[in-house]
Symmetry: D3
Subunit: 167 residues, 6 copies
């Protein structure tokens, strides 16, 4: 199945072929989940900051504030989970040799996600997105899939690293 | 296929802008989640069918059988949830007018997902993927985002409809 | 098993017999879950509105406000899930023929639930309850089970459509 | 609100009025959830016993076996949770005085649910249903709501204690 | 396996040996989960009270308030779940004979946990911890494992009953 | 609060004091959760191996097989989650300087947990326990809390690293 896959995407890995022992192992990993989760955190943050600009909030707005905080929280857990799965199940010695930054990058993502959960600082969100994009880039590069960067087609319309599958 | 799609996208630009009131509303919807979930169902099905080809299973393989069924189940729930969110929160009258098939398509996805959860028929999986791809195509078209089709860069390496963001 | 069931409840369906292929399929569906969830949303809304009437809130009341919003949120998800299950697994062509309103009714329930999650408007809650009661009525009617309406025996004491099983 | 409720259901409690401090407190309790969960356990058990009667199983049937066990498990957790909530949040000294059996009845429900989760003995399921019906009866009696017993309008079509709300 | 266990911990039970039929049954119960959950509730309460002492809150602090309430809530559910499991699966007639207080103690833990979820009264937290410590003590005593009390090595640094395994 | 804690446990850290920014931050971390989860995985494995020794299984035993696999799976997720939280939220540069093995140890725990989820090899379980014990030892050492090792007081009665709090 792996051969068929490699053939179908018509790419050859420069590094040690991934012997992909995921948890099942099902060999399906996709950093897009983590990226969408970060974007959602930033989006809820933007909506929180809109409320922050108001002098006082109605009860409906206060309820919305609670919902936004809860959403930011929930997607923070998602970021951590999705990144942990790829780091803990997919990345192995060959990838660590090729990208020695992986451990530290992954750990930084955890810390930044916590920081973004705890506060309302948009810069933290943007920095986290950059780190998760780098994480995605390493992931696709380790599979010899080219990438490109484009603004995501929904708010917050920030740059996201996508696999270039158009061929 | 691609040509036809691009043509229809040009036409779609005339459609009323989506006044996207999602649940928060955060305006972030992405059918990619649903697509990955279907691909995972098909992938676990393929692994189940590999076990099905064996004369007898060791206890380790039987345990793997259980895990695969559970994974297929879990991702079936995910397909239904993700599709329900976009259908129930994002699609509204302007989209129903532009794509009168949406209700029936969504309902068919529900039925096919149930069928795929219940059995080991790969054709059902492929049919479900086609329906979810069509669902994704409508979604992106309603947002005037062009799409293309490529094999996903991991097993089961089947055609997936992606948004064309490269610009 | 279906025959045995039909015999045991001593009723005969006027419409096409439901060939009930639920997700397992276990054939157990009950809109009561969705109805209780809506009632709980309205109840938490009433408690939120009580807090809304106060000039200022103590920290204990503010914490209660947060809890109520979270509960309303959680039961909103429940409404959507429970309705989606019956719509996506139980209702099929025979029911759509008999009750052409089902798709639109279901979709309206999704939209109203989102609206009730987002705001503090009690009328939305009452309207949602009416829609879910109608959904329940169609469900029971499709199984040839008679219904009656009574105030639920707990707050918010609003009219609920129940199956008439007393015989 | 409590007075309004009592008025609206037009009943007077013979025992100490329940000052209902549920977890929120929202005062909405309904043993119907627990009853449906037991019925679902028995229903999945019946489907498991059908598979048990076969000489050998296809892989599709084996997968179904796994799904049924998982469903029985899940609804077992639900039975325990729903009963625990009513026991731990709603029942208090006035109810213990009126129904001294409550603690032991609740504990027996826990043990029987575990037993039903662990085995394939239908008698255990029927016994559990009786206990949960008794639990429901006490609950409604404590709220001065009359009850009646009828076969549930879906498989396994066994006797269930319902509140008599028809008035 | 039970004999081996009893041998390895080198203790002999004074009461009826526990014929431990847990839910799997796996025989692994540990009240430490419940104790950590109570400690976390008290810890979040302390952080909430710190916010309570301030004259006004920034939006970041208000968001933190929401997160703390949600955490307190979540760990309240954990307390109830963990205690319910040991009460409902592990404790049986021999333990009830040896410790007639178990039912009432367990029920009191449920009520106090609800109270702690609903309010900001630290005394309730301390009282709950005492009850859960007593619950743990009974548990270990029923297994003939000695206990000692020490402040937990993290905030809120309150006395916790631990099993004495050092030998 | 941190000072009070440090005083109450009467220990002084040799390494840089942990400025503990957990996710809330609540400063409560306890590797005991991860350790119990590993023990539960090994315990379910032992029960699976007992079934493995039988020539053929009854349907009740097959259902038990499914439940055990599911339990092993669930606790595998718990191991990964609990270890990820401490690694991602609690461990920071001072701990990495003092214990340079942390990244690799954590990653090895992820891989071994996956392996234990996938197979029925008890040696993998024992090796995982050793790694998680080492992880716990580093954790407590970083907080200047002494540790000791004792067999856990329930099956599988294997050596576990505990904090020495008896004073």
């Amino acid at each position: 199945m792996l051969h068929k896959l490699l053939a179908s995407v018509e790419r050859i890995s420069a590094i040690e072929p991934v012997s992909a022992h995921c948890d099942i192992p099902c060999k399906i990993y996709d950093p897009h989940h983590a990226q969408i989760a970060v974007l959602t955190m930033i989006r809820t943050l933007d909506l929180l900051l809109e409320l922050n600009d108001k002098d006082s909030l109605t009860k409906t707005e206060e309820a919305q504030f609670v919902r936004l905080v809860a959403q930011k929280e929930e997607h923070g857990i998602k970021v951590k989970d999705e990144v942990r799965v790829i780091w803990g199940d997919y990345f192995k010695q060959p990838q660590f040799d090729a990208f020695p930054e992986i451990h530290e990058l992954t750990h930084t993502i955890m810390l930044l996600t916590s920081k973004l959960k705890q506060g309302l600082d948009r810069d933290v969100g943007v920095e986290l997105l950059e780190k998760v994009n780098r994480f995605a880039q390493i992931f696709w590069e380790s599979k010899s899939v080219a990438t490109y960067t484009a603004d995501c087609p929904y708010p917050p319309a920030l740059p996201v690293t996508y696999p270039d599958l158009k061929g």
